[in-house]
C-alpha cells in the first residue's frame, strides 16, 4: 500500500506481509507485520498534535524505521477552539523500506475533535482507520463545524474502520488522583493517545518517558500527569479488545552508521555551524523572526559554545546588514528569512554583490505573494532569489532537497560564499523546514575544510612600484577578490556600493569599466565550480533508454523520486535528475535537457525554473506547477509521468498497456 513500495500492493490498510496475524507477547492481541504505515494526528491547535507527532516520530526513528514527516498547522497560534481553521495536523510515514515522502494519504487518522475529522476525512482512503476522541463529539462541537448529526453515529463512516474512544474521559479518569483540575487533566489527552498509538504500533516508550521527565522537570505535577496519561494510553491498548490486531513495522535497511531523526531547519542550522567550524570562522547570524525560518534562529542561538553569535535584529534589513557587517569584519555573516523578508533584504544583498564579501542568505520559502500562506510550503521565491535586486546582480543559488540535505546544502552555500566572496542564497521551504527524516550522521572530521584565505599583505604594486593592496585584484582561478579584514595592517581600504574600478576598487563611473566589472561579477558566478548533473536513467534490458526526463529542484525531490520509482515499477521508462545548484546550473544540464524527447518539471510555483531553463537552453520544458501550500503527492506526479510518456509522439501504447492496466487496480489509483 505504500506508494514507495517497490511493487503495487492490495489496497487494504495496512499491508500484511507475513500472512495471518499471529499471537505475540506481550498482551493477547495478535501482531501483524506490515511494511509501512501513514498516520495523521489531527486536533485543535491547542491539543498538542505537533508534540504528539514529534514524539511518535522519535519513537519510530529510534526503532530504525525509514520515515518522513509533514507537520501542517495554521498561521494562527490559537484559532477559535474546535473550528476548522484551528485544526493542526502531523502526518508521518514509516516503513521497513526506503521512504521518500510523508505519504500521499493516511492509513490511520487520529481525530481529536469533529473539526479534525471534518478537515481530514477527505484525505483518508476508504477502508482506512479512524481513531476519534468520542468525548469531543458533543452537540456544540459538532455544530461548530457544520455536522448536524455525529458522523460517528450516522453511518456516514461505514466504509472506514472507526474506533470511537472516550480518550478525554479515560485521561481524566487516569489522572483522578493527580490533584489536577479536570481542565488540566484533559490537556494530557494527547499523551494518552500517543501511549495508545505507541502500543498499537509497538513503538518503544523509553525515549518519550525520558522526554517528558526532562521537559517538565520543573513541574513535577505536570510531568507525572503526562507520564500517567501516556502509560494509561498504552495500558488501555493492551487491555481493550477494541483493536483486533496490533502492528509491527520492521526496521528499514539503512546503510551502516549512527542515525538520528532531524528536521530541515535543525539540519540547516547544524550545516551552517559546521561549515563555519570547518572554515575556522566565527558565525554571526543577523535575523528577524519570520515563519517558517525562525527555528534556524532558535537553533543557532543555542550554539554559542560553538562560536555562534546570533543577533535578533530590529527588522529584516538590519538582519542582513548585521550579517554583512560581520562578514566585512572577517566572520561568516548569515541571515535567515522567508520570502517577504528576502524582499526587504534585496538592497543589502545587492550591496554584498558589489562589495564581493561572503554572505549566506537563507530563504525558507512559504506561500506568497505578500504575507501569503505563512505556515505552508511553496517554491515561488526562485526568481526573486535569482533576480530580485536592482541592476545586474548575479549570485549563486543553492537549494536543499530533503530535511537532511539541508545540512549538506548549507555547507555548500558556505563553501561558495567564502571561496568566491559572494552572497549566496540558500533556498529551503516550509516542508523541508518542519519535515523530518532519519539522518546518517556525518563525521565532522571527514567533511571537507573550507579555506577563507583572508588577505595578510599587499597583493600588487602601486603606481610608484611599491607594494600596494589592490582590493579588487582577482584570483585568476575563482575571480574572487581578496578578503582583507579590518585590523590587518597595511591593507586599509574603502569599499562601497558605488561602482568599483577594476583592480583598484576606487570609485569609477567609466562606461567601459562598468561593463567590464558587470561582466566580471557575472563571470565569477558563472564560474563557480559545481558538480556535473547526474541523471538517473537506468538502461533497460533491451538497451533502450528513457525518452522522458523528470527534472526537479528543492523539496520536490521526495515525491518526484517516489513517482519515478513507481512509474518504473509499472514498466515505464523514465529518467530523473534533480538540481541542487540553480545558479550556476550544473555542467551537462543543457545537453541532458536536449537529449530527451520530453522534459517534465514539477515545481511548487507557476513554472519559474521552467522559465529559466527555456530561456537559457531553448528547450521546451513542460512545467507542472502547483501552489496549494503543500508538497506534491507521489500519486499526482505518477500521473504526470504517465501522461508525459503517453504523450510522446510515437509512443508505443501497446508496450505500456499491461502496466497501465495493472495500475487501474493499484492502490495509487484507488487512493486519488
Amino acid at each position: 500500500m505504500r506508494l514507495e513500495s517497490p511493487t503495487p500492493d492490495a489496497p487494504t490498510a495496512p499491508r500484511v506481509e507475513d500472512g495471518a496475524p499471529a499471537p505475540s507477547a506481550p498482551g493477547s492481541t495478535p501482531v501483524q507485520k506490515v511494511a509501512g504505515v501513514v498516520i495523521r494526528f489531527a486536533g485543535d491547535s491547542g491539543d498538542g498534535m505537533q508534540l504528539t507527532g514529534d514524539r511518535f516520530t522519535a519513537e519510530t526513528a529510534s526503532l530504525g524505521n525509514a520515515l518522513a514527516t509533514l507537520p501542517n498547522f495554521p498561521a494562527e497560534i490559537r484559532a477559535p477552539q474546535g473550528t476548522l481553521p484551528g485544526v493542526s495536523s502531523f502526518q508521518l510515514q514509516f516503513a521497513d523500506h526506503v521512504v521518500l515522502t510523508p505519504g500521499d494519504a493516511p492509513d490511520v487518522l487520529v481525530a481529536m475533535n469533529p473539526a479534525a475529522l471534518r478537515a481530514n476525512i477527505a484525505d483518508l482512503p476508504r477502508g482506512g482507520v479512524i481513531i476519534a476522541d468520542a468525548d469531543e463529539f458533543t452537540k456544540r462541537s459538532l455544530q461548530k463545524v457544520g455536522y448536524t448529526v455525529s458522523p460517528l453515529e450516522d453511518g456516514s463512516l461505514e466504509s472506514y474502520q472507526v474506533h470511537a474512544l472516550p480518550l478525554t474521559s479515560m485521561t481524566v479518569e487516569a489522572l483522578k488522583d493527580s490533584g489536577l483540575s479536570r481542565k488540566d487533566s484533559e490537556r494530557a489527552k494527547n499523551m494518552f493517545a500517543l501511549g495508545m498509538l505507541s502500543w498499537l504500533y509497538d513503538r518503544p516508550t523509553e525515549a518519550t518517558e525520558r522526554f517528558l521527565e526532562t521537559k517538565f522537570a520543573k513541574k513535577p505535577q505536570i510531568r507525572d500527569a503526562n507520564l500517567t496519561a501516556f502509560r494509561a494510553g498504552w495500558a488501555f491498548g493492551e487491555t481493550t479488545e477494541g483493536f483486533a490486531v496490533r502492528y509491527q513495522v520492521a526496521p528499514a535497511e539503512h546503510p551502516a552508521g549512527t542515525y538520528r531523526n532531524i528536521t530541515g531547519s535543525t539540519a540547516l542550522a547544524y550545516g551552517l555551524a559546521t561549515a563555519a567550524h570547518k572554515a575556522g570562522l566565527p558565525l554571526v547570524l543577523g535575523s528577524y523572526p519570520i515563519t517558517p525560518a525562525s527555528d534556524i534562529l532558535h537553533a543557532l542561538s543555542g550554539m554559542k559554545r560553538f562560536g555562534v553569535t546570533t543577533l535578533q535584529a530590529e527588522d529584516e534589513i538590519a538582519g542582513v546588514g548585521i550579517a554583512l557587517g560581520a562578514s566585512f569584519g572577517g566572520s561568516l555573516g548569515v541571515t535567515t528569512t522567508s520570502g517577504p523578508g528576502l524582499a526587504l533584504k534585496a538592497e543589502t544583498i545587492g550591496l554584498a554583490v558589489m562589495l564581493e564579501l561572503p554572505l549566506v542568505v537563507v530563504d525558507v520559502q512559504r506561500g506568497g505573494p505578500s504575507t501569503g500562506l505563512p505556515t505552508k510550503t511553496e517554491q515561488a521565491d526562485l526568481l526573486q532569489a535569482m533576480y530580485g535586486r536592482n541592476g545586474e546582480s548575479p549570485l549563486p543559488v543553492v537549494a536543499a532537497s530533503s530535511p537532511t540535505d539541508c545540512f549538506t546544502a548549507a555547507m555548500e552555500a558556505v563553501r561558495i560564499a567564502v571561496t568566491y566572496r559572494t552572497p549566496v542564497i540558500l533556498l529551503s521551504d516550509g516542508y523541508l523546514a518542519n519535515g523530518s527524516e532519519p539522518w546518517a550522521l556525518p563525521s565532522v572530521a571527514d567533511l571537507p575544510a573550507i579555506d577563507p584565505a583572508q588577505a595578510t599583505g599587499p597583493n600588487g604594486a602601486g603606481d610608484d612600484g611599491r607594494p600596494a593592496f589592490r582590493p579588487y585584484l582577482r584570483d585568476p582561478e575563482t575571480l574572487a577578490r581578496p578578503w582583507a579584514v579590518p585590523g590587518t595592517p597595511g591593507l586599509e581600504h574603502r569599499i562601497g556600493g558605488l561602482e568599483k574600478a577594476d583592480v583598484t576598487g576606487e570609485i569609477s563611473y567609466e562606461p567601459e569599466n562598468h561593463e567590464r566589472m558587470t561582466g566580471l561579477r557575472q563571470a565569477k558566478v558563472d564560474g563557480v565550480a559545481v558538480p556535473p548533473l547526474e541523471v538517473d536513467d537506468p538502461v533497460a534490458p533491451d538497451g533502450t533508454r528513457a525518452r522522458v526526463l523528470v527534472l526537479g529542484w528543492g523539496s520536490t525531490y521526495g515525491p518526484i523520486a517516489a513517482a519515478v520509482r513507481d512509474a518504473r515499477a509499472e514498466g515505464l521508462q523514465v529518467a530523473r535528475a534533480h538540481l541542487r545548484h540553480l545558479n550556476p546550473f550544473p555542467p551537462g544540464l543543457g545537453d541532458a535537457l536536449r537529449s530527451y524527447d520530453r522534459v517534465v518539471l514539477p515545481e511548487m510555483n507557476g513554472g519559474q525554473l521552467a522559465l529559466l531553463l527555456r530561456a537559457r537552453y531553448l528547450v521546451d520544458v513542460q512545467s507542472h506547477g502547483r501552489v496549494r501550500g503543500r508538497p506534491f503527492s507521489a500519486g499526482e506526479l505518477l500521473d504526470v509521468v504517465r501522461d508525459a510518456v503517453a504523450a510522446l509522439p510515437d509512443h508505443d501504447s501497446a508496450a505500456a498497456s499491461p502496466a497501465a492496466g495493472a495500475v487501474a487496480e493499484s492502490p495509487q489509483e484507488a487512493r486519488r
Binding site: 526513528a61 550591496l351 585590523g487
Partner: protein, 365 residues
C-alpha cells in the same frame, strides 16, 4: 510560553576604545596618516570639509592603530566621508550604516567603529536602525551631519527641515514636523548624546574626544552648512554677536548660562519638569540648572534639548548626556565567551559531532 529573565553580570565602566590595539609606546600618527589619497569631492564651502579636517586631526589623539579604526557610512553627501579617511571603511546603502556597524562592532571588540550619517540617512530612511542602535547601546560613535536638507538628491526637505520650508519638493512650504535629533536620541535610551557645530573646531574636537571615550553608542549631532541647497541655515550660530546671544554651551557641573555680556541669561527649572530661559537679572528665587550629563534620569537633558527650535533662539551644544550602561556588543560577546569557557574552550570536531548527534541516536550495523 512564559519568559524568564536572567540576571546579567554587568561589566564596569570602560573606555570605548579599551579593547582596541594601541600604537607602540612612543609612536604617534599624524593627520596626514588619516588623509586618504582620494580627491575630496564635496562642494566648495561645504561644512563637511571642516568636520573631515577636525576628525582627521583628532584621530591621532586616540593613539590607536589605524588599521583598527573603521568608518561606515550610509548614503548622502556626508556619507562619502569614509573615502577620505585612510582607515578601513565602507560606504554602504541608504540608512543602513548603524545596522552594518552593529554586526561589525558585535563581532570585533578590537575595532573602533565610527558611523557617518546625515539627517536624511539617519532620521528618515534609517530611523529604525538609528533608534535601535542607541537602545541597544552598541559600542560605536555616530556622527550625524545635520544640514536640514537633502543635498545629494538636490534640495528636497529633510526630517529636520523646519515647517514651511520651501524646497523643490515642497513649493508651497513643507508641512512636515521636524525631528529634534537630540530629543529623539534621548527618548531612544541613548547613553551618550551631544551636539556641536561644523564651524567650531575646538568644540567639535572636544565632543569627539568625549564620544570616543564613551563605551556604547555615542550620538553626535553636528550642525553643518550646505552652501548649495540650504546655505546659511546656521548662520545665526556663526555670527560672533548672535552666537553669544543664542549658543548655550553645556558644561558638566556648571550652571547653564549664556548671552551677550550686557544681556546674560540663565536656564532655570520650570513647572512641569521643563526648563526655561530667563534674564540672569531676573533669576532670583529660581533654580538655575547645573548641568549633569551623568544624571541617570534623562528628563533634564531632554528638557534642555527642547530649548532648541526652528528659530534657534537658544541652541544648547555640548554633551547632553553621558551615562554608563552595559553595551550590547559586550553582553553578546560575554554570553558567547562564557558558553565557550564553560565548555572548555573552542569547539573541536568531536564537539561538533556531539552537537549534531543530539541526544537520541541509533546505530545500524
Amino acid at each position: 510560553m512564559s519568559t524568564t529573565t536572567t540576571p546579567l553580570g554587568l561589566p564596569g565602566v570602560r573606555s570605548g576604545t579599551e579593547d582596541v590595539p594601541r600604537l607602540p609606546e612612543g609612536t604617534t600618527l599624524s593627520k596626514k596618516d588619516f588623509t586618504a589619497a582620494n580627491e575630496v569631492r564635496w562642494c566648495p564651502g561645504c561644512g563637511d570639509y571642516a568636520v573631515l579636517a577636525a576628525v582627521q586631526g583628532f584621530m591621532p589623539e586616540l593613539g590607536l592603530r589605524k588599521e583598527n579604526i573603521v568608518c561606515i557610512s550610509g548614503i548622502g553627501c556626508s556619507s562619502r566621508f569614509p573615502y577620505y579617511l585612510d582607515t578601513y571603511g565602507m560606504h554602504s546603502i541608504h540608512g543602513r550604516a548603524p545596522a552594518i556597524a552593529t554586526g561589525l562592532a558585535a563581532s570585533r571588540p578590537d575595532l573602533s567603529v565610527w558611523v557617518v550619517t546625515g539627517d536624511g540617512d539617519a532620521l528618515s530612511i534609517g530611523g529604525n536602525h538609528l533608534v535601535h542602535a542607541m537602545r541597544r547601546n552598541v559600542n560605536m560613535t555616530i556622527l550625524l551631519f545635520n544640514n536640514r536638507i537633502y543635498g545629494l538628491t538636490k534640495g528636497q526637505y529633510s526630517p529636520t527641515s523646519e515647517v514651511g520650508k520651501v524646497t523643490k519638493s515642497t513649493p508651497a512650504g513643507s508641512v512636515d514636523a521636524p525631528f529634534n535629533p537630540v530629543s529623539l536620541a534621548l527618548g531612544a535610551e541613548a547613553t551618550f548624546v551631544a551636539r556641536t557645530l561644523d564651524s567650531d573646531r575646538k568644540h567639535l574636537t572636544s565632543v569627539l574626544r568625549a564620544a570616543a571615550e564613551h563605551r556604547g553608542t555615542s550620538l553626535v549631532e553636528i550642525y553643518q552648512n550646505c552652501p548649495i541647497f540650504n546655505d546659511g541655515a546656521f548662520d545665526v550660530l556663526k555670527d560672533r554677536d548672535e552666537t553669544q546671544a543664542r549658543l548655550v554651551r553645556l558644561e558638566d557641573g556648571q550652571e547653564v548660562r549664556f548671552g551677550r555680556e550686557d544681556d546674560q541669561k540663565v536656564v532655570v527649572t520650570a513647572p512641569g519638569g521643563g526648563v526655561e530661559v530667563v534674564p540672569a537679572a531676573d533669576a532670583a528665587g529660581r533654580e538655575v540648572v547645573v548641568h549633569d550629563a551623568a544624571a541617570a534620569d534623562p528628563t533634564r537633558a531632554f528638557a534642555l534639548s527642547r530649548l532648541d527650535g526652528p528659530s534657534m533662539a537658544h541652541v544648547p551644544v555640548g554633551v547632553f548626556r553621558a551615562v554608563a550602561r552595559p553595551t550590547y556588543d559586550d553582553l553578546v560577546r560575554d554570553q558567547v565567551d562564557s558558553a565557550r569557557a564553560e565548555a572548555g574552550g573552542a569547539a573541536s570536531d568531536a564537539d561538533l559531532d556531539a552537537l549534531i548527534a543530539g541526544g537520541d541516536t541509533w546505530v545500524v550495523r
